[in-house]
């Protein structure tokens, strides 16, 4: 584009060679390539640092131990309650968010009048909620679930002390469920909309009812997409700390949580505690790295299982038994 018009080429072989070196292209391609490399390098440095240092102090004992009161002591501490707490809250959250999110998405795409302003408003609200800071969801959990629902439940059930109206694994999970609801709804809606309308018509023209069409034709097709939404939700929730700060996490608990109204310890929060409250950071460093590694492995493992399930389903859909 910016090249000067070629002077009449002396011989045709030469005319296909570049007249002058295109420095700008070379430079900027290099620069943007470098930016890409830089990001990959940042990722690699973080992961390598954690894996290398964390691996040294990671042991079966560390994973399977419930720490006595001083969890800053590298010799006696462990992360079993945190692993239980984190998986537990993610599990409870999934039980709530998956069915509700999928059903809501089904309603929005298959039943709600697609052109009505109300539907459009709801869709916009759902979309935008996905970007609201997680700490705001924490506030919502505190204001709504604990101080409103919980306290009213206590009053209603005549609990002796605050039973429901205090932080608990249930409220933390529900808060996370509300936080990830938009993720699940958006992903499900997208995969529902990607299904050609012809398939629905074919089913309806054969005399299937709307519900039969949804259950037997639409949902099986959308399943991989819905799983993706689930993965996104789970992996986002597993590492989140801000929304559970005031809704259920405990600094220390001697026992594993046994009821939904118990508080719980959490891997992410424990990383925060170890790195900011330690009396001697040099001494805590190894267990801190190990805890981070466990958290990373857990999030990546959750991700990975879900990706596997999804790949399986894709294959099954393609091969069809």
């Amino acid at each position: 584009m910016n090249r000067p018009p070629n002077p009449a080429p002396p011989d045709s072989a030469k005319s296909f060679r570049s007249e002058r070196f295109d420095f700008a292209s070379f430079f900027f391609t290099g620069l943007t390539g470098f930016a890409t490399l830089l990001i990959v390098a940042i990722l690699a440095v973080i992961l390598l640092n954690i894996v290398v240092q964390g691996w040294e102090s990671l042991s079966w004992r560390f994973i399977s131990t419930i720490p006595k009161d001083n969890f800053f002591d590298p010799a006696s501490t462990g992360v079993l309650p945190m692993i239980v707490g984190t998986t537990g809250r993610v599990f409870v959250m999934t039980i709530f968010v998956l069915p509700v999110g999928v059903i809501t998405a089904i309603y929005l795409t298959e039943y709600a009048p697609s052109t009505s302003p109300l539907t459009r408003f709801i869709r916009a609200a759902v979309n935008n909620l996905a970007g609201v800071p997680s700490i705001v969801f924490g506030l919502f959990g505190l204001g709504f679930f604990i101080n409103f629902v919980g306290r009213n439940l206590d009053a209603l059930l005549d609990s002796p002390g605050p039973t429901w109206g205090q932080p608990a694994i249930l409220w933390a999970s529900l808060t996370l469920a509300v936080m990830t609801l938009p993720v699940v709804i958006v992903a499900t809606e997208e995969s529902l909309r990607a299904i050609p309308p012809g398939l629905r018509e074919a089913s309806l023209a054969l005399g299937a009812t709307k519900l039969q069409t949804i259950l037997r034709v639409v949902l099986p097709q959308a399943l991989p997409g819905i799983m993706t939404g689930g993965i996104l939700a789970v992996s986002r929730a597993a590492g989140e700390v801000a929304p559970i700060l005031f809704t259920g996490v405990a600094y220390y608990m001697a026992n594993l949580p046994s009821k939904l109204t118990d508080q719980f310890m959490d891997l992410g929060y424990h990383v925060y505690v170890l790195s900011t409250q330690s009396p001697n950071i040099e001494q805590t460093r190894p267990i801190l790295y190990a805890t981070v590694l466990v958290l990373l492995m857990l999030t990546f493992a959750l991700n990975f299982t879900a990706i596997l399930i999804r790949a399986r389903m894709r294959k099954k859909l393609r091969a069809l038994g």
Binding site: P113, G198, A202, S203, L206, Q221, R318, L320
Partner: protein, 272 residues
């Protein structure tokens, strides 16, 4: 579950195209249809006879598909559609309030322009409609699937791959599968919206043979852009223009001696 024979219909032996005293099966009376504010069909009145092939022809956008979709109420799926007038099947107004569209669609099957097999196996595609009707017995299912595939002239080609994906079939095979799927539930009427428009001449010929064969059992209404096709397979032809029915008569008459100038121009290709 064979469908009960329609009431009010004298089932006579199929007559040749020259028969003029046939009972009507689908009766369209003063039908107008609006998409929002725009009118797509204007006061259509048209009788359709049982066990014959009726072809709808006309330039693109004239409302053929729209009318066809009125017969099994697929237009219900589109927002803002308003209908005036009546469509009666066997004398029964299908737009009256107590009609169950699900039941209606079981009796009025449809084949779409773009073949739309489910992403399931060949077998499951056909069994789908049967299962909806409560067929559970495997032997029954096997038998009906085979019979439908034979009727759709597809059996020989797919009998060894019944349980592999229908999406692996060729375009023509997929379309015949959709026909097999439609006839498996034994409807009385089959609506076909340009069923051969995406196919090569050989596949088209097979589908045409199939239609001639199916007309012994079913009433067929077909939309087509192919004049030769309409002439070859249909007994009656209706020509539409801008949402209006211009002429409806025996196919031979439409193609040899139409009453309207517009029709003549269109079938001879001088339309402009």
């Amino acid at each position: 579950m064979p469908a009960a024979p329609l009431k009010n219909v004298t089932v006579s032996a199929p007559d040749g195209p020259d028969d003029s005293a046939k009972e009507t099966l689908i009766e369209v009376r003063d039908l107008s249809l609006y998409y929002g504010a725009t009118r797509a069909l204007t006061q259509i009145t048209l009788p359709i006879c049982p066990r014959l092939v009726t072809a709808f022809i006309g330039p693109s956008g004239c409302g053929k598909s729209t009318l066809l979709r009125c017969f099994n109420r697929m237009n219900d799926l589109i927002d803002n559609v308003r209908i005036e007038g009546a469509v009666r099947i066997s004398g029964y107004d299908i737009y009256s309030r107590d009609v169950d569209v699900i039941e209606l669609r079981k009796r009025v099957g449809m084949v779409f322009q773009k073949s739309n097999p489910f992403p399931k196996s060949v077998y499951e595609n056909i069994a789908y409609g049967l299962r909806l009707q409560g067929h559970r017995n495997r032997a029954d299912l096997d038998q009906i699937v085979e019979q439908s595939l034979r009727s759709a002239a597809l059996w020989d080609e797919v009998k060894d791959r019944l349980h592999s994906s229908a999406l692996g079939l060729s375009g023509g095979q997929q379309q015949r599968l959709c026909i097999a799927r439609a006839i498996a539930i034994k409807p009385e009427i089959i609506l076909m919206d340009e069923p051969a428009s995406a196919l090569d001449p050989i596949a088209t010929a097979r589908i045409e043979d199939l239609i001639l064969d199916l007309k012994k059992q079913f009433t067929i209404v077909i939309v087509t852009h192919n004049m030769q096709q309409a002439a070859r397979i249909s007994d009656y032809t209706a020509f539409f223009y801008l949402g209006q029915l211009v002429e409806h008569d025996r196919t031979r008459k439409i193609f040899t001696n139409p009453t309207q100038k517009q029709t003549e121009d269109y079938v001879t290709g001088r339309f402009g």
